[in-house]
């Protein structure tokens, strides 16, 4: 247990921050300072414009020496922002950093009571009194250093996850790249061209896919899902489910003693397979067999058996012959790997736009989504790159693009946020039909065109000059001509202030994006928070956009919020850098908020043992008695045991019962009644 100095007379220094006018604008800082001087145990009270500045921090260090302080209170912003700063200042003054306590008088006071200066000042005085009460009882604590496993995990094998894995592995860190699908590549591999450069998406992606596959530092685990996560920064034990693929690699064949065997990607099995299913990679617009690859550039080039569809006729096994690559009795395998840090890059799904029934998706043949458009216009897609109408196979001449389809939608059906990349890819789509179909006219129905990136606005002008028709107005509804299957798009042109009814051959809905199903599952396993719309929550929106509040877990790509490919790759590189820091340091310090057993009070009942979600507590025999013992490395400091112990025998460091009771008493019994 931490050292408690007996009979120590607390001498607390209180420092009240103005934060410019952020605090001083609604709180009488001088009055709070003068009030602090009257509190028991307070040796000195001072105020300063910006306590977090160097002179402000120096005040703390100087006061500790001059007044021989035993504790420090800073009344300023949130401890979630500046507690580390002031702990360091406390340490610089020669005091244990855990003898610092913060009173939040900004986020939870001056900013939320801006027009009630008297009440805000009274609340600030209470906050200082509560903090002084706790600071008077704080004790020296020593953070625990734990070694960091020199390995990392990236969950999600899209372009973001691939980039993060490449960066980590190239920095000398063993990296496990986990992908639920049979191939890496993610959404980007479904795209035809990328804006604004019009690079072929596959052409720029496949070299990266090959790099990932060949990188000796990356263990590529496709068709694999995260099953369970235990541990903490530096020491995560991740259990993975390797789904039964039905096909073995040459390496696995060698391990089974099959010389020269394993899947070579020849595709002989596909020719004989009698089962036909829709290909999810082509969004159901093309068939695949029960044994399949998504597309010719998959990485790794290993076939996969869809056991939900397979009838186990065994024709593929015969066709495979001596390679013996197909095992129709394969079962899921589980493996556990230890990693120091992890990056979540689980990407997005398309919002089910049929929920906006007024646009008729899934009801009218010729209303498609933008992702379906990508596959139809792509040379490797189901139509070989010829855009055709699903109803009759004809080439459409007039195509309407509906932007903000389900995005920026406050009706409660769609999503309130902007999906960010739809404007730009719709401009690209308009360009593609003008380029590919002579005489084609794209009609773009938009609210605003958000062309915010480098060379994006220039691309917008280019598409305007190419002859795309831009109509500012949301589409009210779409009606189908039952004979021709043409579509009437009804909207208001808000620039001209008149209603429009345009007959087109095809409608492309730029559907909103939403967090993928795996994002929700994965975030729960790793203990990462999400915002109201399900996107994963970064540790700080501006200053820590790749980190999360779970130490050692980082975010890359759209799982954190809609972003285009350049932003995804940039964030992936940032996340990889952040995730490599603890690994290269070799050790991390854990906040020492551990539970401790006060053995003389412990009755050995063991109630706490079952309460602990981490298995950190156990009953042991000691001096002829049964008492609880804490494994500090497993304890995360939640205090659930301490909140329940009937004998009050658990001492939660930094949140000990006497400290919290002192705060309650200070608020309710101290001060003016």
């Amino acid at each position: 247990m931490a050292e408690v100095k007996k009979n120590e007379e607390p001498r607390i220094g209180v420092f009240v921050c103005h934060c410019g006018t952020n605090i001083a604008g609604s709180i009488d800082v001088a009055a709070v300072k003068d009030y602090a001087k009257t509190l028991p145990n307070v040796a000195i009270a001072d105020d300063y414009q910006y306590m977090c500045s160097t002179p402000g921090q120096n005040k703390i260090a100087e006061a500790i020496a001059e007044h021989n302080l035993t504790g420090v209170v800073v009344a300023a912003c949130s401890p979630r922002l500046h507690e580390p700063t002031f702990r360091n200042a406390t340490k610089a003054g020669g005091l244990n950093p855990f003898r610092f306590e913060m009173a939040n008088i900004r986020e939870q006071n001056s900013w939320v009571h801006m027009h009630q200066p008297e009440e805000a000042t009274a609340k600030a005085k209470d906050a200082v009194r509560i903090a002084v009460a706790k600071a008077s009882l704080l004790e020296d604590l020593i953070p625990k250093s734990v070694p960091v496993e020199k390995a990392a995990m990236v969950v999600g094998g899209g372009v973001g996850g691939m980039q993060a894995a490449l960066d980590l592995a190239s920095a000398g860190i063993k990296t496990y790249l986990v992908e639920k699908n049979p191939t890496i590549g993610g959404r980007m591999s479904q795209l035809d061209k990328t804006f604004p450069t019009l690079d072929c998406s596959q052409c720029i992606l496949t070299p990266k896919m090959v790099d990932v596959y060949r990188h000796e530092g990356i263990e590529l685990l496709t068709y694999t899902e995260v099953e369970a996560v235990e541990g903490y920064i530096g020491n995560f034990d991740v259990t993975l489910r390797k789904k039964a693929r039905g096909v073995i690699t040459p390496a696995e064949a060698e391990a089974r003693g099959i010389v020269g065997g394993g899947c070579t990607g020849c595709g002989d099995c596909v020719d004989v397979c009698p089962v036909i299913k829709p290909n999810p990679f082509e969004l159901g617009m093309a068939p695949r067999k029960a044994i399949y690859i998504y597309h010719p550039q998959v990485s790794p080039l290993i076939y996969t058996v869809d056991f939900d569809a397979c009838v186990k006729c065994g024709l593929c096994v015969e066709a495979c012959g001596d390679k013996k690559a197909i095992d129709l009795d394969m079962e899921d395998e589980f493996m556990t790997v230890k990693v120091g840090t992890a990056i979540i890059a689980t990407g997005y799904d398309i919002f089910p736009i049929e929920k906006k029934f007024e646009w008729g998706y899934k009801n009218y043949d010729n209303v498609i989504t933008s992702l379906e458009f990508e596959r139809l216009i792509c040379a490797s897609g189901p139509t070989g790159g010829h855009l055709v109408r699903p109803s009759d196979g004809e080439t459409p001449k007039k195509v309407a693009f509906v932007l903000c389809a389900g995005s920026r939608d406050n009706t409660g059906v769609g999503k309130p946020y902007c999906s960010r990349f739809c404007c730009m890819y719709s401009l690209k789509h308009a360009h593609q039909i003008i380029e590919k179909i002579p005489g084609a006219v794209p009609y773009i129905f938009y609210m605003d065109i958000r062309s915010f990136g480098k060379m994006y606005e220039e691309f917008y002008y280019r598409i305007q000059n190419e002859g795309a028709k831009f109509i500012r107005g949301r589409v009210a509804n779409i009606l189908e001509d039952p004979v021709t299957k043409n579509l009437h798009v009804n909207a208001e042109d808000t620039l001209l202030g008149r209603p429009l009814d345009i007959e087109v051959d095809m409608v492309v809905l730029a559907a909103a994006v939403e967090p993928s199903a795996e994002t929700e599952k994965t975030r729960r396993l790793f203990g990462v928070s999400c915002s109201q719309d399900g996107w994963l929550l970064e540790a700080h929106p501006k200053l820590n956009p790749c980190g999360t509040t779970t130490a050692g877990v980082y975010l890359a790509g759209v799982c954190q919020g809609p972003k285009d490919i350049p932003d995804t790759v940039a964030q992936a590189e940032g996340a990889a850098s952040a995730a490599s820091i603890p690994i290269h340091r070799g050790e991390v310090e854990l906040e020492p908020y551990f539970a401790q057993c006060i053995e003389e009070k412990c009755a050995g009942c063991g109630l706490c043992v079952n309460l602990c979600p981490y298995g950190a507590l156990a009953l042991v025999e000691k001096d002829g008695r049964t008492v609880m013992q804490v494994t500090e490395a497993k304890c995360k400091g939640c205090g659930t045991c301490g909140g329940f112990c009937p004998g009050g025998a658990i001492w939660m460091q930094h949140f000990a019962t006497p400290q919290i009771v002192a705060q309650i008493d200070a608020f309710l019994l101290g001060g003016e009644q």
């Binding site: 900004r106 939320v112 009630q116 928070s529 979600p613 659930t640 329940f644 009771v661």
Partner: protein, 141 residues
């Protein structure tokens, strides 16, 4: 209620990861709410010993709020479930000692729900104000 200008004394014990962060977010967004609640930060609502709440009422608190993460979102997996169970039991204890159990409230506010924190503040203060001073107040100290 005797005094129209009477303001309640309410203590909130809130978790570091969700509700405290949500309260900070409300501050960043300058969401204005009444100032009658003082917050104490713990790492998890699982830390909240029912004795803390009884102590607060013994000290004359007019209301107590415990606020944590949504179910399934607890930073420590399940601390909020355990806290919720304890609060549920504690409410029946409060009733038995003649205290309106509406004086104790548990809410779930995530780190992204700044606006909800403001609503919770307004709602808790309104509820406790309507109940009036705690009958235990005269025994405090």
């Amino acid at each position: 209620m005797a005094d129209e200008n009477w303001k309640p004394k309410i203590i909130a014990i809130i978790c570091n990861w969700c509700s405290y962060a949500g309260a900070d977010l409300a501050g960043g967004a300058r969401i204005q709410y009444p100032p009658d609640i003082r917050a104490i930060r713990v790492m998890c609502t699982g830390r909240v010993d029912p004795l803390f709440i009884l102590k607060a009422f013994q000290d004359g608190a007019d209301g107590v709020l415990v606020s944590g993460c949504h179910f399934g979102d607890c930073h420590y997996l399940e601390g909020n479930y355990k806290a919720a169970k304890r609060m549920f039991l504690l409410k029946s204890v409060l009733k038995n000692i003649g205290l309106d159990d509406k004086r104790l409230r548990m809410t779930f506010v995530s780190a992204s729900e700044g606006a909800k924190w403001g609503t919770v503040m307004e709602d808790v203060i309104k509820t406790v104000t309507e109940l009036g001073p705690s009958p235990l107040k005269e025994f405090a100290r």
